[in-house]
């Protein structure tokens, strides 16, 4: 184990320490907040780079450091951290993006009275996120996961004096809790199955072959293996955290928090933690039951196209291995492991959920007018893409999109923050316009981010990562529908981003008349360099990252799967087809967007959207996010409220009546007791007291306070005693 | 008869020449039934002669010494250079009228001087004056000394109360309070020597201070840190016990005229005077015994040529000279200063001194015990002194009423 592994704990510990210090930093020392938090992140980034180079040198050997946390009776509970390609890449991404977002925040939040608190929360969040990334124990991961949820809650509700922010924070917290119940149950089940929560522990970890085989071979009922159940429960947690259908409702509302928070937590890192979790537990999620005895295989294999989860298959986790195996549909040779490679149930669920979320969120984004909400739905959509990629193409595909998305979505959010800042806290894109002239730097950076997101070919990282996902989906054997849905979502992505660009940056400035109650110039202005430099850094990454994942030189895939990258000048036909398709899609989406919106840019705030004019009904549905919130409101929440009302009624009328009757009974008893007391006990007692007092009065005459008189009696008694003793 | 005279002279010679057991040859001549009484008488008589004579001499020397200090002549008329002044004074007091106030408590008024002088004479009986001159070798001689010394307080009270005079009573109460207060540091400082030597017997304490074999310097206790401090404390406390300046508040002529012997005259007054001085001598003798090596010479060689009692009386004379010097030099303290000095300064210092002597006893290394007890005592002295020093209010002189620019 290299020394960097044993020092890896410093990466989350530094932001944690910074948070602890910031917690007590008085406001007059606010100038030290950024150096503290940013310095901790910068140091963490340097350490992460060292770790990344270490991991890149030997990608196949994961460094693990486990230690005993506490013991329950006889069973030890171990925690630990891990340095493998996955965690190394995530560490570098989180620290890098985090660092630049910290810098950006210093400019964005400069005038906030709770500046120091903000950095304290941010550092706490960063520490928890880093902990999630490098955890080698599901328990440690869960703990950091929950701390992350707490930090998210605190930051969404950072402006808690706004009722909407407070409500959004609460909503985010509660909604993710629903998923976390699944996570917790899955974790407990996993512990019960494998006896450990460590991922890798020299062959004894729960992600290593023996435990996987055990779990995959253990039927849990309802036709599922234990591994399937566990991974589905863990996926529930991921759904909650990553805002997938049906738990996506909190993520758009979370935009009530400050924009750097949206960039860091609700675009780049925390929401991706769900994807990361599934990537981490991918061995469980993709585990298939062991092959049945050979004699049975022959009988089962005779039934073609039977969707038997018992059928063995190699872990088809790499796109490069897919083309060779995908078209060998049915083979009857009983000796080798041949059949339709139907993936594990969990992967199928993931693929469907991801694809549906991608399309649904993209549709919703089309009809939004809040700049951050559009980006939020876009995030949901892209997270769906990631799950789709993870399910169909394996860890590398999903994770690559996660990384590229982190950079360009952070860039987009920061750009949006810059725009909001420049437009004096205006968030409605209809009130913007023409900002290209006012904010050129922001415009360029935003455009790069937008093209990366939309998948403009060749130079932008988003193109390559999304292309891989589509490719993997196209080759997915169980169904072609996720691919089709993904294509539609990709098209819509290009469309709504174009719409947003046009609204914000083209045409004339439409916000001049709004909110001009205060004095001074209400013209938009470019943001300070403290905010534009992070934009530049992230934009550079959004472009440069594409180098790592092209089909020609798939360094990232090789890195994650643990072998040396090799140069592949020849690209297979399937890849080219999909690439061409996505170029067409992007061009179509952008072109459609331009043709609708750029030809006649809306001149005033009150103009209705062209799409609204075209199909008002559909527009209303999209605009109201398919009425999902309302659906929840009228179903779950209404049921809940009804249950609450029933409980209140029960408490008030049934239990309350019982209590009341007890009270009345007690009152009656007390009354009787008082009567007894007053007329039976007291009279007798008074009489006794009187007797006693009179007697005492008589006796007390002997007690006249004359000490010598007492002593004389004592002396006489002593004499008598002496006499009796001596002459008895 | 000739035997008697010869043996008596021989006894005197043995005493003077520092030989052991001077009475051994003389006592067998006495009839059996009178022998022990004679022995006692032979021991007491020199004390009864020598110390009153020393008192007489001291009065003259003190008056002359004070005169020199105050830049005047002092007594110079009676006898050669005025040295017979004491005889004139003695005759005067003997022939003066003995006045007893009518309201006084006659009996107590009469008993008070006796109650002072008798215990003071008793205290001399345990002091070792020379190598073989110990009138009463008690096992607990030191305790005897303090017990008898404590009885003098009662006589002072008796004198002050029996006179039926408010100045007398005030003086007596002041004196008693002062003596009770200073008895504590006195006893505690003497206790250090008891802790170091492990005995209450005064001759044994003196023996403990003899020079060891081949040592050129005697082991007086005053040569140790705790002994030095103890001796200083002892001297101050003894000075206060004897009601001498600067602690002579009970007499305070300017305030209460003469304190508790205001109403005494003639020979009773002379007895008080005698008692005070004898008390001082006894305290000095105890100090010499405890700290200054008793009758030992500072250098053991000298003991061979000069008799031991000469050393004792030389030290006594030196201490008396010191007290005369102090009386001529220091002004009288105030009552609160007196009490503060006793309870807040000397008592803690004496307790620390006990700690120091314990350290001295238990540390084997001579250097270490020197250093430890010195540092302890110096620290306590400096710390207590600083803590008790009243805040200094010395500033530039301000003329409140004179015009500032009276040029």
């Amino acid at each position: 184990m290299s020394p960097i592994v044993s020092w890896l704990w410093l990466v989350p510990a530094l932001p944690l320490a910074a948070a602890a210090v910031l917690c007590f930093l008085p406001d007059r020392l606010r100038r030290f907040a950024l150096p503290l938090a940013g310095g901790a992140m910068g140091l963490g980034f340097l350490l992460s780079c060292a770790a990344l180079s270490e991991a890149a040198r030997s990608p196949s050997a994961a460094g693990v450091h486990n230690f005993l946390w506490l013991e329950f009776g006889g069973s030890p509970l171990m925690l630990g951290w891990i340095l493998d390609p996955l965690s190394a890449a995530m560490l570098a991404m989180v620290t890098f993006v985090g660092f630049w977002i910290f810098v950006f925040s210093a400019g964005y939040m400069a005038h906030d009275p709770h500046y120091v608190r903000f950095f304290c929360f941010l550092s706490l969040f960063a520490s928890a996120m880093l902990g999630v990334v490098m955890a080698n124990s599901l328990l440690l991961l869960f703990m950091c996961w929950e701390v992350m949820g707490l930090a998210s809650y605190l930051l969404i509700g950072f402006w808690f004096h706004k009722p909407s922010a407070a409500a959004a924070a609460k909503k985010a917290f509660i909604t993710t809790r629903i998923g976390d119940i699944g996570f917790l149950l899955g974790m407990v089940w996993l512990y019960g199955e494998s006896g450990t929560l460590l991922f890798y522990d020299q062959g004894a970890g729960c992600l290593e072959t023996s435990a996987i085989a055990r779990m995959a071979g253990h039927a849990a009922g309802a036709g599922m293996m234990a591994s399937t159940g566990i991974s589905l429960l863990l996926f529930a947690g991921a759904v909650g955290k990553s805002g997938q259908i049906p738990l996506h409702v909190w993520l758009p509302d979370a935009m009530e928090g400050p924009t750097p928070v949206s960039a860091l937590i609700h675009a780049a890192t925390m929401v991706a933690a769900g994807v990361f979790l599934m990537a981490r537990v991918y061995p469980i999620a993709s585990a298939l039951p062991p092959p049945p005895p050979v004699a049975q295989v022959a009988s089962v294999a005779s039934a073609p196209n039977a969707a038997t989860p018992d059928a063995p298959a190699p872990a088809a986790s790499h796109p490069s291995s897919l083309p060779s195996s995908s078209h060998e549909a049915s083979v009857s040779a009983p000796t080798s492991v041949r059949s339709t490679p139907l993936p594990a149930l969990c992967l199928r669920v993931m693929a469907w959920v991801g694809a549906l979320t991608a399309l649904f969120a993209a549709l919703t984004a089309v009809a939004q007018t809040d700049i951050k909400r559009i980006l939020a739905y876009s995030t949901v959509s892209q997270l769906g893409f990631m799950f789709l990629g993870l399910a169909t193409g394996g860890v590398a595909v999903g994770m690559f999109h996660l990384l590229t998305h982190a950079f360009f979505k952070a860039l987009l959010f920061l750009g949006a923050g810059s725009v909001i800042h420049g437009c004096h806290d205006e968030q409605d894109i209809r009130a913007m316009g023409g900002l290209r002239r006012w904010m050129p730097t922001t415009f360029v950076a935003y455009a790069i981010g937008m093209m990366a997101l939309a998948g403009v070919p060749l130079f932008f990282s988003g193109f390559w990562s999304k292309d891989e996902i589509l490719h993997a989906a196209a080759l997915w054997s169980p169904s072609k529908w996720p691919f089709i849905i993904g294509v539609a979502a990709a098209f819509l992505t290009a469309f709504y981003m174009t719409r947003q660009m046009v609204y914000v940056y083209a045409g004339e400035y439409r916000g001049a008349g709004r909110g001009a109650d205060g004095g001074g110039s209400m013209d938009p202005h470019e943001s300070p360099s403290l905010m534009t430099i992070p934009l530049g850094a992230l934009a550079a990454c959004a472009i440069l990252l594409s180098v790592l994942g092209t089909p020609v030189w798939p360094w990232f895939h090789a890195f994650l799967s643990g072998h040396a990258p090799r140069f592949e000048p020849s690209i297979s036909l399937g890849v080219l087809v999909v690439m061409f398709l996505s170029v067409v899609l992007t061009a179509g989406g952008i072109g459609l967007g331009l043709s609708i919106y750029a030809r006649a840019p809306s001149a005033s705030l009150a103009d209705e959207d062209p799409l609204e004019a075209w199909r008002p009904g559909l527009w209303q549905i999209l605009r109201n996010r398919f009425y999902i919130d309302e659906l929840y409101e009228s179903s779950f929440i209404a049921w809940h409220a009804a249950l609450g009302r029933f409980s209140a009624w029960l408490d008030d009328k049934v239990l309350g009546a019982a209590v009341e009757s007890v009270r009345l009974a007690a009152l009656g008893l007390a009354w009787a007791a008082r009567l007894c007391d007053e007329f039976a006990v007291n009279l007798g007692f008074d009489e006794a007291c009187d007797c006693l007092r009179q007697a005492a009065g008589r006796i007390s005459r002997f007690h006249d306070g004359q000490a010598q008189r007492y002593l004389r009696f004592l002396a006489l008694a002593l004499s008598a005693l002496a006499f009796w003793i001596l002459w008895k | 008869m000739m035997d008697w005279i010869r043996e008596f002279l021989g006894m005197l010679w043995k005493t003077v020449s520092d030989q052991p057991d001077p009475k051994a040859a003389f006592l067998p001549l006495i009839p059996e039934e009178w022998r022990s009484e004679t022995s006692v008488l032979l021991s007491i008589a020199p004390l009864m002669m020598i110390f009153p004579a020393l008192f007489a001499l001291t009065t003259v020397v003190e008056r002359k010494g004070l005169g020199r200090i105050q830049n005047r002549l002092g007594p110079n008329r009676v006898g050669p250079a005025g040295f017979l002044q004491f005889a004139a004074d003695g005759l005067k007091t003997l022939t003066k009228e003995d006045i007893v106030p009518r309201a006084a408590d006659q009996l107590v008024h009469f008993l008070a001087p006796l109650a002072l002088v008798v215990p003071v004479f008793l205290t001399f009986s345990v002091l070792p004056f020379g190598r073989h001159l110990v009138p009463l070798d008690l096992e607990s001689g030191l305790l005897f000394f303090f017990a008898i010394g404590a009885a003098t307080e009662l006589s002072v009270f008796m004198a002050g109360w029996a006179s039926r005079n408010k100045y007398s009573l005030l003086g007596a109460l002041r004196a008693v309070a002062q003596m009770v207060s200073y008895e504590i540091p006195l006893i505690l400082s003497a206790l250090t020597v008891v802790m170091a030597t492990g005995t209450l017997s005064l001759p044994q304490i003196v023996d403990a201070q003899a020079a060891g074999n081949g040592e050129w310097l005697a082991r007086w206790h005053v040569f140790t840190p705790w002994g030095f401090f103890g001796f200083a404390l002892f001297l101050v406390a003894a000075c206060a016990e004897a009601n001498r300046a600067p602690f002579d508040l009970p007499e305070g002529e300017s305030e209460i005229i003469a304190g508790y012997y205001l109403e005494y005259s003639g020979f009773k007054f002379a007895l008080f005077f005698l008692g005070e001085y004898l008390g001082l001598f006894a305290a000095c003798g105890l100090g010499i015994t405890l700290f200054l090596g008793g009758w030992h010479a500072p250098l053991p060689i000298l003991e061979r040529w000069i008799p031991s009692y000469a050393w004792f009386f030389a030290k006594l004379a030196a201490l008396i000279g010191l007290f005369i010097w102090v009386r001529g030099t220091l002004p009288r303290v105030r009552m609160d200063q007196l009490m503060n000095l006793a309870w807040k300064f000397m008592l803690p210092l004496a307790l620390v001194n006990l700690l120091a002597v314990a350290l001295w006893h238990f540390l084997p290394n001579p250097l270490a015990r020197w250093a430890a007890s010195s540092i302890l005592l110096a620290g306590a002295y400096v710390g207590l002194g600083r803590a008790l020093m009243p805040p200094s209010r010395i500033g530039k002189r301000v003329y409140r009423y004179a015009p500032q620019d009276s040029r």
């Binding site: 002396a715 | 404590a150 009662l154 009573l169």
Partner: protein, 171 residues
């Protein structure tokens, strides 16, 4: 009992009677000192040197002084005008005399007193007493020190002048 101790005993009894019967409190206290000194002399005669000297040091030097101070502080120095025996004192005197009679009679009559040592037993030396105090009885000695300290502090607190009463109490 030799002649000296008989004389001392008579002196002690006389002083004790004086201490309880004299009118003037200071005379009583001085007589009490006589008792203490006489007892100390008796102790010395009984070879109890240490105890005798401690008796003088503590009783005459400390308790006696305390007594006369207390007498003066309670204005008891002069002759008392009011009756100095409490009412119905005869009962008390009678009880004391009766007790004295019984006890003296019992002492003279009894024959169960232990026989004195035939002689030859070593009396404890001062060094032995010191070792005993510092080794076997050291706990008792420490307790005694604690008791004396507590008594001194308590006496100071008790005898301290009370603060002047507050205005509300006067009203």
């Amino acid at each position: 009992m030799n002649g000296l101790t008989i004389i001392l005993s008579l002196l002690v009894i006389a002083s004790a009677l004086g201490a309880v019967a004299l009118r003037n409190l200071v005379h009583c206290a001085l007589c009490l000192m006589g008792v203490f000194l006489g007892l100390a002399a008796i102790y010395l005669c009984l070879d109890a040197q240490f105890v005798g000297l401690v008796q003088i040091l503590v009783y005459v030097g400390a308790v006696g002084i305390l007594l006369v101070f207390a007498i003066l502080l309670t204005r008891g120095g002069g002759a008392e005008l009011s009756p100095f025996f409490s009412p119905s004192w005869a009962i008390g005197a009678g009880a004391a005399a009766l007790l004295a009679l019984i006890m003296v009679a019992a002492i003279l009559k009894t024959d169960s007193l232990p026989a004195p040592d035939a002689g030859g037993a070593e009396l404890p030396t001062l060094a032995q007493i010191g070792k005993r105090l510092m080794q076997e009885d050291v706990i008792v000695l420490e307790a005694m020190g604690l008791l004396l300290t507590a008594a001194a502090v308590g006496a100071i607190v008790l005898a301290m002048p009370e603060p002047p009463p507050k205005k509300e109490e006067e009203a």
